[in-house]
């Protein structure tokens, strides 16, 4: 993978993508790179621990669309059109995604019929959340179609990182999202290390895995609390919000930052826990685990809470697969995707088995239970990792170098894909595709057919990030 991928002619592009799928690859992003005659349109396919990079020459002509073959590529193509001025041959409609056209009709799906009307929410919301505009087409209380408009605060982080050194570029990936900072940083660092031919040491792999699992822990606790808040169930919300706060304080004690910022470096790690600190952390995590299990039992017996979850916001296995859903949301729909099982750069080991949902029904209940099922796995992993001191690690030269480095890392909401293209000593292109980016279309799809007042609950069961889109 580390040698530059062969450039595929545009006429063979669709066949090459289909071939990657046929060989068992899973589409995990596409991005444009280069300018002028050197412009490329690249598609990424996950295959076990490897990531296949297909690269088409888009310098002279428009590449053909693959959205009919791979619906998951819809956002990638629309974003490339809006931000990189790339056009796609054969796309019937090119609705704006990142740019905001004033005419509503230009970016919404037309819905007609007796009694249909639109309900508009955002981009300014009553709660303390990011900016996003939701346009619901409804009949009565029933959602027929949801159109989202995000990208309100797009920061241009990917472009801003261009021309910087790999070490300086880390800040751009790290700040893309607060709740996924470690995941994105590790993905970036691994992508750079792949391009620079650096091989992480045992200590580096262990340190990063500890950070990733700490991040997963507080996010999962937060997501359970959010689902409780979505139906106005205050006792559950307060219980899990308290647990999340304890997890954040543990983060602060271990890494000096509640959201673990500044803990990842390219080719190294700064996390340093001696035996005493690791032992204290194990003790606190043990208590947290017992309290989380008790709080979860309370939820299981809250009938009015449980009555809200079943059959709401269903994402079928086929739809999850077609739309490229990842993370707990995909696993709750019956897709067995967990990048942790195929991460040689981390410390999950060959025995790692992702949690299976009690029922892969793809509804809010399944997504909630999926997170609850993953919590014990995370507690076990952390307990095991912290049984010995965690020392700063490094990465040694030894691998093959190349102009492109790609890494995939499983975060709390799913897989972050980071692609780095080096031009000499500097970044030529940084591409960051987080789990939230991958899952937004799945959320939109899952909302259709449900009751309008259930949407906040469905939304919270995915708990997607706006900043990940506004990167």
């Amino acid at each position: 993978m580390n040698s530059a991928p062969p450039v595929i002619a545009l006429s063979a592009w669709r066949e090459a993508c289909l071939g990657a799928l046929d060989r068992g690859g899973r589409f995990c992003g596409a991005y444009a790179s280069g300018t002028g005659a050197a412009r490329r349109w690249n598609a990424l396919f996950a295959d076990g621990a490897e990531t296949l990079v297909l690269s088409a020459d888009a310098g002279a002509a428009d590449p053909p669309t693959i959205v009919d073959l791979i619906p998951a590529a819809d956002w990638d193509e629309r974003e490339a059109h809006d931000l990189r001025d790339l056009r796609f041959e054969g796309r019937e409609s090119q609705r704006p995604l990142a740019t905001h056209a004033p005419e509503t009709a230009s970016w919404t799906v037309p819905v007609e019929g007796r009694g249909t009307h639109q309900v508009v929410v955002g981009p300014t919301h009553a709660g303390v959340i990011e900016s996003g505009h939701f346009r619901f087409h409804v009949v009565g209380e029933r959602i027929l179609q949801l159109d989202t408009r995000l990208f309100y605060k797009h920061r241009g982080l990917e472009r801003a990182a261009e021309g910087r050194s790999p070490a300086a570029g880390l800040a751009f990936a790290a700040r893309a999202c607060g709740a996924g900072s470690v995941t994105n940083s590790v993905a970036y660092a691994q992508a750079c290390e792949a391009a620079l031919g650096l091989v992480p040491s045992r200590e580096l792999r262990r340190g990063r895995t500890v950070l990733l699992e700490l991040e997963r822990l507080y996010n999962h606790l937060n997501d359970v609390a959010a689902i409780c808040a979505g139906v106005g169930f205050a006792p559950g919300n307060m219980a899990f919000a308290t647990l999340k706060e304890r997890a954040l304080r543990l983060n602060c004690e271990l890494a000096g930052h509640r959201f673990l910022f500044g803990t990842v470096a390219v080719g190294g790690s700064v996390l340093d826990l001696d035996a005493a600190a690791a032992g204290r952390a194990r003790g606190e995590l043990g208590e947290l685990r017992a309290d989380a299990e008790a709080a979860w039992r309370e939820l299981a017996f809250a009938a009015s809470f449980q009555a809200r979850l079943g059959g709401v916001g269903v994402l079928s296995t086929e739809d999850a697969s077609e739309l490229g859903a990842v993370g707990p949301a995909a696993r709750a729909s019956g897709l067995h995707i967990d990048t942790r099982g195929t991460s040689p750069g981390l410390w999950y080991g060959s025995a790692f088995a992702p949690a299976r949902p009690p029922a892969a029904s793809g509804d809010v209940a399944a997504r909630l239970e999926m997170r609850a099922a993953e919590l014990p796995v995370t507690f076990e992993l952390l307990d095991d990792l912290l049984s010995e001191p965690v020392r700063p690690g490094d990465a040694a030269a030894g691998g093959s170098t190349g102009p492109i480095g790609v890494a995939r890392v499983e975060g709390p909401r799913g897989e972050t894909v980071c692609a780095v293209e080096l031009e000499g000593e500097h970044l030529g292109r940084l591409h960051l595709r987080t789990a939230s980016y991958a899952n937004w279309p799945a959320l939109v799809h899952a909302a259709a057919g449900n009751l309008l007042p259930d949407f906040p609950l469905i939304n919270k069961s995915f708990e997607l990030c706006y900043a990940c889109v506004d990167r």
Binding site: V119, A126, G232, M238, T242, A307, L451, L452
Partner: protein, 305 residues
């Protein structure tokens, strides 16, 4: 004594009403492990809103402008119908329970009309849900009041309160059915879980809060006060008609205070223990209350044979 009852009815209804939602919020916060606002918070809100200027969305008509006054006026009239501790001053309005139902419906209609006038999506959505619930909630209110009226053989609230006094009614199934049905009425009229969530910021889930979103300043103060006064009306009625009371005026006043406090605590407990129910199931709950009330009616008729 009647003069004191009149004073409590008017001054209490006007001035003490905001204390009730304040009390519920405060108790709820304690139950949920939060410190929460003081019970006096609604007064601070009202003072803040009263000092603010009005803002009319464009285009709106006189319907939008008049709605808060109409809602407040209907609510004040309804307050004057509710007897305090079994006494009611003569305001030449009578104390008919059905008039009370009509006044509450008028307030609901005025607010729904204002939502339609603004054309705001959230306001219309909230009003639409409120009216849908009202289809079930108003018969439930009428039936619950009817069950209290049957033993008194009158729809006069003073007579109904007198007939429900003492321990006698508690041996009658009709009283229990009426009390349970009225408990649901309290949940709907005060806009609380599992029917509605007064604390939510999620516009898509709002019922009673939706139509208020377009209002500001004094308009909003009037509407917020009316919502608090609705607490007063249904909680005082609930205590007077369905909770234990009896004895002289002072004893009845004590029962009333204890009853209203107990109902506030009940609301706080319900809101803490119950999540909000799926919106289309709420009418089913209310229809179940109607069935219960009908069963009470049947038991009364059979008992009377």
């Amino acid at each position: 004594m009647t003069a004191l009852a009149a004073a409590i009815q008017v001054l209490g209804g006007l001035a003490l009403a905001p204390l009730l939602p304040g009390l519920v919020q405060s108790m709820k916060a304690r139950l949920q492990g939060r410190r929460g606002p003081s019970p006096l918070q609604p007064y601070r809100e009202l003072r803040r809103l009263w000092g603010k200027s009005l803002a009319d969305p464009q285009p709106t008509t006189v319907v939008y402008r008049l709605a808060p006054c109409l809602v407040a006026a209907a609510t004040v009239l309804a307050l004057l119908l509710v007897p305090i501790a079994g006494r009611a001053p003569d305001w030449s309005l009578g104390n008919d329970a059905l008039v009370l139902v009509g006044l509450l419906a008028l307030a609901r209609f005025a607010l729904a009309a204002s939502s339609w006038d603004t054309g705001s999506g959230f306001a219309l959505m909230g009003s639409g849900r409120d009216l849908t619930f009202a289809v079930f909630a108003e018969p439930l209110l009428v039936l619950a009041l009817l069950l209290a009226a049957l033993p008194a053989a009158s729809t006069d609230l003073v007579a109904m309160a007198a007939a429900a006094a003492g321990s006698g009614p508690w041996t009658e199934p009709v009283h229990w059915c009426g009390a349970l049905a009225f408990a649901l009425v309290i949940l709907v009229e005060t806009g609380r879980q599992p029917i509605d969530n007064p604390d939510t910021h999620l516009e898509l889930t709002m019922v009673h809060e939706g139509p208020l979103l377009e209002y500001a300043g004094r308009d909003l103060a009037l509407l917020e006060w009316s919502a608090a006064a609705r607490h007063w009306i249904v909680l005082v009625l609930g205590a007077e008609l369905f909770l234990p009371h009896g004895g002289g005026f002072w004893a009845q006043l004590g029962w009333l205070a204890a009853g209203v406090a107990a109902l506030c605590a009940g609301l706080a407990l319900t809101e803490t223990a119950q999540a909000k129910m799926r919106i289309l199931r709420a009418p089913g709950l209310l229809a179940g209350g109607c069935l219960l009330a009908l069963a009470g009616l049947a038991s009364f008729l059979i008992g009377g044979l």
